[in-house]
Amino acid sequence: MSNGPPDPDVEQLQLAVSDSPRPSRPSAVSASLTFGWRALLKIKHVPEQLFDVTVFPIMFLLLFTYLFGGALAGSTDAYLQELLPGILAMTVVFITIYTGVTLNDDIDEGVFDRFRTIPVWQPSVIVGALLGDAVRYTIASTLVIVLGVALGFRPAGGIVGVLAAVALLLVFSFSLSWIWTALGFVMRTPESLMGVSMLILFPLTFVSNVFVDPRTMPGWLEAFVAINPVSHLVTAMRGLMHGTATAGEVGIVLLLSVALVVVFGPLTMYLFRAQQ
């Protein structure tokens, strides 16, 4: 038994299993942060997963600015001022679906069973993953804003306004992600989850006020745009970035965010426990 990798030493084994007192249970915040740390470690080990949060936003911003700018606002520069907050919202809302996909992948791994048998505040598994995603959203936001400024985006709200808009976006995305986490437990494969998510996200992002003024749309479409949460988010973010936001505009986004968590948070946790 002396060649090959080292054997576990029986004495050391005894020592390792002879227990020290069980530490007290970590707080909900601490457990969530630890799961967030895990998400960051995964980014460190699998950096490819940042592809979507880097390439997607850059592509969207360049594409739509130069494709529609001249036609819709007379110049790309003028269009960019209106478009950038919208594109930022759209890209980040889009990449929230990877939360569900990652979770769906995770469930199939045995490690998820372990997380479910650890005595921690159970939602911290999901909350932590979402905190890790918030880092990804921040990277995407930074890229879009830096590129936007380079292209001529000049927010009247200044740095504070931009930061507030990004913060609002992170809150909304965190809340929206609970839809995907719930779906992540329901759908059998990441592929089917992607399909369903796209089906929801395409109308949600495109049938909004991101690209064009809703007043140019037919009445029924304008009605949908008016109730679309993404429209409210974009309106509030434009307002914050350009320094014209009202408390009502921001308030309704926060209200929507709370509503999303209240509905889909418990649903996710129910599915989490019922997971077989």
Partner: protein
């Protein structure tokens, strides 16, 4: 106590009646050390001194169906605290489903399961404080390194940053994983992965550890290492519930074994009891002259007072014997008849024999023809065991026959090794 009595009907009677008493003092002693370990945090559901001695696991009428599949079909089981309890059964027998319910990963459809007195369905959080699970497939994060996995779990279990790192180092050393500590788990060999998996399960030493087929797919050396780890844990006071489809593993490790097949327990007892129910051993006789086989059989049969089976080898006979004294007389009888013997061996019954006997019976009961391919030796041996079998095995056979009457097409699942 009603649950306990209900759980011990028919085949477990003999083992049970002595069991509860003999384990009682042991259980008490253990529960004291556990209180210390929990550092006064276990106010919630700690049994008081007035309660009956806590069992590690107490299952009554447990049922779990997945659609049409009756994965667990009414199981009663009591596992005393301390030691290793084996759940033995072929693939698809329901072992994993039982473990998953006990680890709060699955909700039972019916019946109750208690872990140290806490109901898994209603007090999941309390159960999770005391158990740990090493699943059949590595329950570690493949993208992370071995060290990161352990630090992650230590943090989740409440260790400080420094404490978590220290504990991870300690475990990596103890499990021979120090060199691989900074490599991603996906690069690990099967044995390393399994060791890390077990290390992850004991970051905080659990009171009850579930090991779901811990050595499946491991080479003998890695298997021995895992066995060493399990023994060290048990020596330290952890109760281990182990599932395995390897009979020698159950034989080597387990203090008691429940044999499970098609979602039901078909036998329960110590390895010794289970073996004894097959008979005390198998006598194999090989003759120099195959032509004398019938003559030899006529000589042996009355002396052994057991059916003597013609093996497929034309010169060989075998019989299950309960009394070794008869074996000596059988040898003398053969010498007197001047039948020349080339081989005369009394083999200890193995758990394999027991297992084949029990599961083979169920096969014979529903489709004798289908099981015929298994080889005349064990198939006939199973039939012959009837005379030597204890009441328990007979009861088992009855259960199996009753059950299989309703289910004609499940033969393929049954293991015929």
């Amino acid at each position: 106590m009603t649950d306990r009595q209900r759980g011990s009907e028919d085949y477990t009677n003999r083992a049970r009646s002595g069991d509860a008493e003999t384990h009682e003092p042991h259980v008490h002693a253990r529960s004291a050390t556990l209180d210390e370990r929990r550092g006064g945090r276990g106010q919630t559901s700690e049994p008081t001194d007035d309660d009956p001695a806590p069992l590690a696991i107490e299952i009554a009428g447990l049922v779990k169906h997945f659609g049409e599949t009756k994965a667990v079909d009414g199981i009663d089981l009591q596992v005393p605290a301390g030691g290793i309890y084996g759940l033995l059964g072929p693939n698809g027998a329901g072992k994993t489903t039982v473990i998953r319910m006990l680890a709060t990963l699955l909700q039972p459809d019916a019946g109750t399961a208690r872990v140290f007195g806490d109901d898994v369905a209603t007090a999941g959080d309390a159960v999770r404080e005391r158990v740990s699970l090493t699943g059949q497939f590595a329950s570690v994060d493949e993208d992370l390194t071995g060290r990161e996995n352990l630090v992650l779990l230590a943090r989740l279990l409440g260790y400080s940053r420094a404490g978590a790192r220290e504990r991870a180092t300690e475990l990596l050393d103890a499990f021979g994983l120090t060199e691989a500590a900074t490599r991603q788990v996906k690069t690990y060999s099967g044995g390393m992965r399994r060791r890390l998996d077990i290390a992850a399960s004991i970051v905080v030493t659990p009171e009850l550890l579930f090991l779901d087929e811990p050595t499946t797919g491991l080479d003998p050396r890695n298997r021995n290492q895992v066995w060493d780890i399990i023994r060290a844990l048990v020596a330290n006071g952890t109760t281990v519930l182990l599932t395995t489809q390897y009979l020698d593993e159950a034989d080597q490790l387990a203090d008691r074994i429940a044999v499970i097949d098609e979602g039901r327990i078909i036998a329960e007892g110590t390895p010794g009891e289970l073996k004894a129910s097959v008979g005390s051993g198998v006598l194999s006789v090989r003759l120099r002259d195959p032509a004398r086989r019938e003559a030899a059989r006529d000589v042996l049969q009355p002396v052994l007072d057991a059916p003597v089976v013609r093996e497929s080898d034309p010169a060989a006979l075998s019989a299950r014997v309960t009394d070794s004294g008869r074996v000596t007389r059988a040898f003398e009888a053969l010498s007197h008849s001047s039948i020349e013997v080339s081989e005369f061996t009394l083999g200890q019954p193995s758990l394999d024999e027991f297992f084949l006997t029990v599961t083979d019976r169920s096969g014979r009961a529903e489709a004798a023809a289908a099981d015929g391919s298994e080889g005349s030796g064990s198939a006939e041996g199973a039939g012959n065991a009837e005379s030597a079998a204890t009441t328990r095995t007979v009861a088992t056979a009855d259960r199996v026959e009753n059950r299989s009457g309703n289910r004609p097409a499940s033969d393929s699942k049954r293991r015929s090794q």
